[in-house]
């Protein structure tokens, strides 16, 4: 229960952050990715602001084995850069560049009642389901 409430809080604040920063608007994101046109550096400031806070949070988290609510600290341990990581990133980047949506802003725009965002999110969930099916088949083989 505590875990879910903290999750709800984090999701809500995350959503507010995307709205305030303008990142729920795909045109603004594409303005950042369009480096050869008139370039809007805003997205870099969003990342910078988030990382400024994040660096402190992770510095605290690294020293703890339990969270402040008493849950296990689950930090990723993999440092391996493999084909999956890079190819997956490239694939995601192409989709990001086509529509200007990444997962978070897609969900926020869906909540704002944008029909086009709903179509994007439906296709994204379908993509995740396709990935899941491929992984399961691979595990069986």
């Amino acid at each position: 229960m505590k875990f879910s409430l903290a999750s709800l809080f984090a999701g809500l604040v995350f959503g507010f952050g995307l709205i305030v920063s303008g990142m729920a608007n795909p045109e603004k994101v594409l303005g950042f990715l369009d480096i050869a046109g008139l370039w809007d550096p805003s997205l870099a400031f969003v990342m910078g602001g988030a990382i400024m806070v994040g660096v402190f949070a992770f510095a605290i988290a690294r020293k703890r084995t339990l969270s402040f609510l008493g849950f296990d600290m689950k930090l990723p341990s993999s440092t391996h850069i493999d084909k999956r990581l890079v190819l997956g990133g490239l694939m995601f980047g192409v989709g990001w560049g086509i529509a200007g949506f990444c997962p978070g802003p897609g969900l926020v725009a869906l909540g704002a009642g944008e029909v086009k965002a709903a179509v994007f999110v439906a296709a994204m969930v379908a993509g995740m389901a396709i990935f899941e099916l491929i992984e399961r088949n691979r595990a069986k083989a």
Binding site: L5, S7, G15, V46, A50, M52, L87, G89, M91
Partner: protein, 145 residues
């Protein structure tokens, strides 16, 4: 030579919104001990384990509910979606498969990964940023869409 779009550039609201995103990721990490990676939180619902569903739904509910809560206080800023439906479907499929295959998106690798100085997340972030820049260049400047 890069030309800045001074009329669209919003450094202060971008920074303020970024700090909020950072606070969200920080509270998720320090309260629950987890990385706030949105593609992972959503994707995990497609292979649900017992006791692993409610918190995911809660996080996503917060994200989707944020604009609704926002609307009770004030108007939402504009959301302009220029892409057509076929493009949105292709983009969605690529983002869905790509983020799961690459174990993360802008939040998990970009915000959280760079915050914990992970080389792996840096490699992922450079990959999707580079692909994003090239894709927009091709669409806007080579194809002229």
């Amino acid at each position: 030579m890069i030309e800045i779009a001074w009329n669209n550039f919003t450094p202060w609201s971008a920074l303020a919104g970024g700090i909020l995103v950072g606070i969200a990721a920080a509270s998720f990490l320090l309260l629950n001990g987890r990385i706030a990676g949105i593609s992972g939180i959503l994707g995990g619902l497609l292979a649900p384990a017992k006791g692993d569903i409610a918190w995911r739904v809660a996080f996503l509910g917060g994200l989707i509910g944020a604009p609704l809560v926002w609307l009770t206080a004030t108007e939402l800023p504009a959301i302009e979606i220029e892409a057509g439906y076929p493009a949105l479907i292709i983009a969605g499929l690529l983002v869905g498969i790509g983020t799961r295959y690459g174990s993360g998106c802008t939040s998990g690798h970009g915000v959280c990964g760079l915050s914990r100085l992970s080389i792996r997340s840096l490699a992922a972030t450079l990959s999707f940023m580079a692909a994003g820049f090239v894709t927009v260049y091709i669409i806007r400047h080579l194809l002229g869409v």
